[in-house]
């Protein structure tokens, strides 16, 4: 593909809509017990993303997109981290006082959060030492 057919703005919007709709379809259709339709919708959204990327020559994401993505990632992990640092000790206290019972799903969320922040910490150390 040597000739651009779509402008970067159109490609960006297509990708954005495809990713959001594909993920929502996957989650929603799984919840209403239509997993195969959900996967099909998700695969379709991936095809749309790939096709959109092939239909343009110019860079799709500029520096502002990168900056926004990075700062949003940092804020998200900060908010999620502060919330977790309050919620999980509080749940543990409640558990100690017999006001809360750990369920497999709530423990799973706790473990997921722990793994997420271990990954984050590892990347921080790795990037810091490379500097």
């Amino acid at each position: 593909m040597t000739y651009p057919l779509l402008s970067p703005v159109v490609v960006r919007r297509l990708i954005g809509f495809a990713v959001v709709l594909g993920s929502l379809a996957l989650a929603g259709l799984t919840i209403v017990s239509r997993p195969l339709v959900g996967v099909a919708a998700y695969v379709l959204s991936l095809v749309v993303v790939a096709a959109a990327l092939l239909q343009t020559d110019s860079p799709v994401f500029d520096e502002r997109d990168e900056t926004v993505s990075k700062e949003a990632a940092s804020r998200t992990l900060t908010v999620f981290g502060v919330a977790s640092a309050v919620v999980f000790p509080a749940l543990t206290v409640a558990w100690g006082l017999d006001m809360f019972e750990w369920q497999p799903w709530s423990s799973a969320i706790g473990v997921f959060v722990a793994v997420l922040y271990l990954t984050y910490g590892a990347f921080t150390v790795a990037i810091g030492s490379r500097r």
């Binding site: 997993p35 990632a73 999620f80 543990t92 369920q103 990954t119 990347f123 990037i127 500097r131």
Partner: protein, 134 residues
């Protein structure tokens, strides 16, 4: 960046508070089963000490360290996102074909991932709209 005295002294604080936070999380994980109140007391104490280090030295706002953290956050969310984007559709497909059953553990992790990226999407969209050139 040339290392200066304040750099080498300052780099102790993030390291120490990182270790203290890790220790606090470990304490919480290990002792919450048997002695929840001790675990939480120790957790609050250790996290408080870690935070106090930053307050006293005024550290944690170093430009390059901030850039490291921001870069690491971006990479972390990208890695977790790509992994989830491959794993969860795979699980949904396997469940649809009868090779996998959703357990509370898998569902809990799936909902955490969904919540995390919903938050990320909201924050990113808000930031994108705010910094939009007129």
């Amino acid at each position: 960046m040339t290392p200066t005295e304040s750099d080498s002294r300052g780099s102790i604080v993030p390291l120490a508070s990182g270790l203290l936070s890790g220790l606090a999380a470990l304490l919480l994980a290990l002792l919450s089963q048997s002695r929840p109140l001790v675990a939480v007391g120790g957790y609050v104490l250790l996290i408080g000490t870690a935070g106090l280090g930053f307050v006293i030295t005024g550290q944690g706002s170093d430009r390059s360290e901030q850039a490291d953290r921001i870069g690491a956050a971006d990479v972390t969310l990208a890695v977790v996102g790509i992994a989830s984007g491959a794993v969860f559709p795979g699980l949904v497909l396997a469940a649809g074909l009868g090779y996998f059953r959703w357990t509370p553990v898998a569902a809990g992790i799936a909902f955490s991932v969904a919540g995390l990226y919903a938050l990320y999407g909201t924050v990113a969209l808000g930031q994108w709209l705010r910094t939009r050139p007129a």
